[in-house]
Symmetry: C2
Subunit: 224 residues, 2 copies
């Protein structure tokens, strides 16, 4: 089946990384894939636009079916390959509810992170305001504290409890992104422990962003 799949991706992009983790978890190695470069504008290339008219990565196809939205791809892969690889949606209603809740809260988290990290990319020069930068950073700090609290109060090592689930697939890349941008491990010990413990999980290790392997990210979040 993996041979029928094609993924165009960018290194470090949380949405791309989610799909790659899900593919690994479902034992779907060996798919066709191509690493593209956001900095060169590859995501607006004709090759990507033909698969994803939004000009975004990932661009992902399973056979003839297009699943460019990362959560759509993850949900679809889990549904189509239920008994293959690791089960990513818990059966227990309480864990399942928690999984869905955290998974979708993860999109808010990811957006607040993007509002800080990509502010100058997203907002044209004449429209930038220090007050907006300050507000965005405060919103991100509040969001990070929320997730630190979830892990502190949680009943297991994972976001939805005792087993790795789609909540982790969706949110882990954003948490890794925070630390890539130098979030202080001492200030957020639960997030740091979660981040470090999952680094060695085979699906995550195998899909670790290649551009992150031998470099440090900017110190953008150190004082958050």
């Amino acid at each position: 089946m993996a041979k029928d799949m094609t993924l165009l991706w960018g290194s470090g992009s949380p949405p791309c990384w989610r799909v790659m983790i899900a593919l690994e978890e479902k034992n779907l190695q060996g798919y066709n894939q191509k690493l593209l470069d956001f900095a060169k504008g590859d995501h607006k290339s004709p090759e990507v636009m033909a698969m994803n008219p939004r000009g975004q990565l990932p661009a992902f196809k399973c056979g003839k079916n297009v699943l460019n939205e990362s959560l759509a791809a993850c949900m679809y892969l889990e549904n189509q390959f239920k008994s293959q690889g690791n089960k990513l949606i818990p059966d227990c209603p309480a864990e399942q509810a928690m999984m869905y809740q955290r998974m979708f809260e993860g999109l808010t988290f990811s957006q607040k992170m993007g509002d800080v990290i990509y502010y100058t990319y997203k907002v044209p020069e004449g429209e930038r305001h220090d007050s907006a930068v300050k507000r965005n950073r405060e919103a991100l700090a509040a969001e990070i504290k929320l997730w630190e609290g979830y892990l502190e109060k949680g009943s297991g090592s994972f976001l939805a409890g005792k087993t790795f689930s789609l909540a982790d697939v969706v949110v882990y890349p954003s948490i890794a992104y925070l630390f890539r941008f130098q979030l202080c491990e001492e200030r957020y010990p639960k997030l740091a422990a979660y981040y470090n413990s999952l680094k060695v999980r085979p699906s995550i290790k195998a899909s670790w962003p290649p551009t992150w392997l031998d470099t440090h990210g900017p110190e953008m979040l150190h004082d958050i």
Copy 2:
């Protein structure tokens, strides 16, 4: 089961409406519910904050399980009540892929709509720019054209094909919102036909925002 559920909601809010449509589709009428008023700041009240610390509506509980994120609630209800009411996730892989893809694209649609309609609410006075308003409106217009095209090229009356699915549950409220804010029906005939045909669907009729029944919305999107 519905007696164990509690929904705090606001009239017209697409996320609240999604949950209400899903509850109707799954024959889960009779849940505890309370209509709150965003204009009075009810969504920041202690009652809401106790259920949803983000201070947002919907706030939704199934027994002890919290599902405040609207897509989380919809996915959970479909999974827990698979054989009750209408099936909302198609079995056919092609339709299922399309359903997930459209469902998650619906979040982008909803966000672009919010960027236009709630600009003055979201952006403090000193940070507002005509150039941003123009850009947001252009982005929304492009998004609406995309959805008009999806319906034009689609193989059925619904967003994921021949049957009503979670894609419709998630996206219909945003499309209704566009027309509430006076989007021109003649300019977007497929969207208008979709909007009007689903108005009479029992789940949608039963959950129609009460504040919309006898009033027109502002003409904000008429020239888009």
